[in-house]
Symmetry: C2
DNA sequence: CCAATGCGTTAGTGATGACTAACGTATTCG
DNA sequence: CGAATACGTTAGTCATCACTAACGCATTGG
């Protein structure tokens, strides 16, 4: 799965945002969600496969953190999608709105 | 399905880009993909439900075009995801790279 | 040591996604 | 009018996803 699709799932989006502020353990992350720790663990593994997060083993905990290089790749994917043409359409719409 | 997830699917990403350059009929779009017209039609309906595209009936054709307002919503969703913190991590990574 | 803690793993389930093939419907062209 | 065209629609398949429950393994604290 590419980074774009991996990041699109709502729970995974929130996980990335949580980890952006600072690294966290699996339990910490899971406590912010209504689903089980197992589900979160699986999301984390998927994000890790996509190169967006990485785990560091510390004692019996695993500290997950965001991988800047992976984020860069994601941003590049988004940018590649968000072409100038798409952007122009949005900007034009904005202009029309502000002229009303 | 929210706009972010709708736009994440690779084929739909390409459809949006195609339509960004100019409106097209279903057959025109489908000719750019290896899958059947039916599959494309279904992707288009899903994109329409997400408010990202709209169809105008012209004779026996349907001209699909991108909906600027929907794109704006998508961009807003992406921006809400791409927080300052995520951005800072990427920028820092860039700085490190250029210092090597 | 032994119980508790932190996680990954596995198996199973229900839902959904992406797709094809076949069909139905409206529209146009000769 | 009748064939061809442009689409949507439907049904069915196969794969994948998101999730839970249960278990297993390492690590640590009393």
């Amino acid at each position: 799965m590419d980074a774009f699709s991996a990041a699109a799932e709502p729970n995974r989006r929130r996980i990335l945002q949580l980890l952006a502020s600072q690294p966290k353990t699996v339990t910490e992350i899971a406590s912010a969600f209504p689903v089980t720790r197992s589900a979160i663990s699986q999301h984390l593994l998927l994000l890790a496969e996509a190169g967006l997060v990485a785990a560091e083993k510390v004692g019996r905990q695993r500290i997950y953190r965001v991988v800047p290089e992976g984020l860069r790749a994601l941003q590049a994917e988004i940018d590649r999608f968000w072409t100038d043409e798409l952007d122009r359409l949005v900007v034009d719409a904005d202009t029309l709105r502000s002229n009303r």
